[in-house]
Amino acid sequence: MTLTSMLKATTAATLVFAASAAFADSHATHPDTGEALATEQTFTYRVGDESPSYDPGVAEDVDGSAVVRDLFEGLMNQDAEGNLVPGVATGYEVSEDGKTYTFTLRDNAKWSNGDPVVAGDFVYAWKRAAAPELASPYAWFFELMSIENAAAVVAGDMEPSELGVSAPDDLTLVVSLSQPLPYFPQMVTHATTFPVHKATVDAFGTDWTTPENMVSNGAYVMSEFVPQEKLVRTRNEMYWDNENTIIETVTKLVITDENIALTRYLAGELDQTDVPAGQFPRLSAERPDEAISVPSACSYYYTINMTDTTNPALLDVNVRQALAMAIDRDVIVEAVLAGGQKPAYTFTHWATAGFETPDTPMASMTQEERNAKAVELMTAAGFGADNPLDVSLIFNTSEAHRSVAIAVSQMWKQTLGVETELGNQEWQTFLETRGNQDYEIARGAWCADYNEASTFLDLMQSDSGYNDAKYSNPRVDELMAEAKTSENPQAAYTEVEQIIAEDMPIIPVYHYAEVNMQSADLGGWPFTNFEQNWYSKDLYKIAE
């Protein structure tokens, strides 16, 4: 500890003492970093929309999952780097064939009403989430986890009791998989796999998630909830690691307009908010300590309809290549978005664990070379000044998507003389149009479900439900199947990326970054967690 931080700590301690007895037990310094802690340990942040649900089995969105991670605790947690650390389970063992996982639960984990957390709570929660009666939109997650009989249970062909999970005793949970899955342990940090208190659910039905009724096992309990306004969570005294929890109160405010949210942040009402598109350079110049950009696990791309309902010109690989080359990605990330995003020449996000971005011809060229090549390819395809190509590009309504689409259409026009008709559709309509291949080119984005390249590349398989291009290449299918069980799948991923770069069924545009304003005294934020999975229990406020 340096002298200054020592002094700060002393001041903080004095302040704590002077302030009030209620704060007397608050930490004077952070146990690991030794930073002096502020007397008032609260965290207030902004989200844009209310989440559909805070029931772990039903929660489906990113913001809702963040709340659920505070209220409930699963078998494993992630640390600031995204590595697995013990949660309710102290650890796990894998069988020889890689198909059976045995988790050992800690004996001091408690629900907020004092009941012990037992393996049966997990079994109940998993069966409940997979069962047709709950109709959870995330029921498919158990299929993704390759849990035995998951598909049949979700489809209603088997009783939920047949699901491959059991509790031989209160502290042991056994999971049977239908095939070995190297990244399975990563998946138990997902909200869908969190335990649920059966007695509470039985007593209150769908009302069990209200603040009065909810019984949870996480570091926090829900103390107040006004939909579309705010959700407040306070420290759970029953939590097994309660003494290491520093933040007392976490408040999530729903503020639709990101500019209003920014104003309120500047007025000191919020500790964290999103940076509106294009404002990052200005804000980082004005407040370098607070404007923060970190990679976030999503890729932005344009998918090309490759079925016979498309524009016939797009079936020509030269045209697809030319369109891909003519996009000046540097302009898009630096001028249009300007928030630390990275140009994308591969589908898989560059920061994905273990993934090495392969060298594709396009990535190594300069934009002038790409433009020249694009013109050449376009001419080869029979299009030119006297025979310009017309395409349509659809995107779902959003300022940012619109700006990107406008920029791209202008680049295509300037470089290739392509006339682009922009179509702006409401989210639900857009999904339907794209899912029915009723488009020529459409905006797409994919976010990682877990930190491994297959979460992206699975989409390129012919039978993937999310393959909106309807791209089909037997070699890709073969490589992806191989990668599932392979010890070192990275080589296969690299080859798949190279094939995609040649066939160009999708045009990668950029890799997302998360751009936030965050008050400088907030400590413990997991910037290096690729999936941006944060836990309030790891956060703390540093004394001024």
Binding site: D49, E50, P52, S53, Y54, D55, V58, E60, P132, E133, A135, S136, P137, A139, W140, E143, A151, V154, A155, G156, T206, D207, T209, T210, V226, P227, Q228, E229, K230, L253, V254, I255, T256, D257, N259, I260, T263, R264, L266, A267, E269, E426, W427, Q428, T429, F430, L431, E432, T433, G435, A445, W446, G465, Y466
Partner: protein
Amino acid sequence: MLSFIARRLAVAIPTLLILVVLSFVLMYAAPGGPFNSERPLPPAVLANIEAKYGLDQPFWKQIANYVVGVVTQFDFGPSFQYKDRSVNDIIAQGFPVTLTYGAWSFVVAAVVGISLGAAAAIKQNSWLDYMAVGFTIGAQVLPNFVMAPILVLIFTLWLGWLPGGGWNGGQWENLILPVIALSTSYMASIARITRSSMLEVLNTNFIRTAQAKGLSPSRVIFRHALKPAMLPVLSYLGPTFVFMITGSVVIDIFFSTGGIGRFFVDSAFNRDYSVIMGITILVGSMTILFNLLVDVLYAWIDPKIRY
């Protein structure tokens, strides 16, 4: 009078039915369903969800079930988007909020608007009149979605006097900015109508006679002029109240007040059929009720009107 009210209420029922069918048909015709998402749900999961909400049944059966549920049990069904909540829960939470700031805005707009308009008319061509006219012209033109962020900028960021949003159960600090943003343009309209109507009344023979008889000016205004001058204002107040409810869309978006306006827009975008229907029916009923109320008041003030 009673038979008039009864007749109007009888019309309300087919009106609401038309509203229900209209919105139901609109929703049914819509592309995209409430359960589409970025990653399309596996068919088995989708089937489970549709079965749970009765969406697997034929159209006529869905609408019949819905109407029966609403009429017999006052049950508007579950929300498709907010899976832990029913439409009744959402309305029970959001409507009182909207009603609170809507009613305050209404009162502020009416009281200030009428006083300002009347004062301007009485002191015609004075500086007060010019100020009032200037204000009404300016305020009518400034859209509230421009005004709301300006208010937040001034009162929250620069002055730091008021919170930039939130509701906190209806604390007065949270109420002020929404009420200003919502009431200003209606206040201006009311002031304008009051002024011109008041001027017209003040120029009638009957007021001139009263003045000639030597009645005190305040007596002339309060006893004789104000009541007839209120008639046009009154017929404007009915729709105004409904506009306050509609205006909650903007207020909820900017001030995070959690009223029904935000729920309505959200549910329209998310195809949350049951929430849309619930809110539409609610607002429809309010409209009918207020038009009726205004007509009754009108009849009470103006005895010439016969029904």
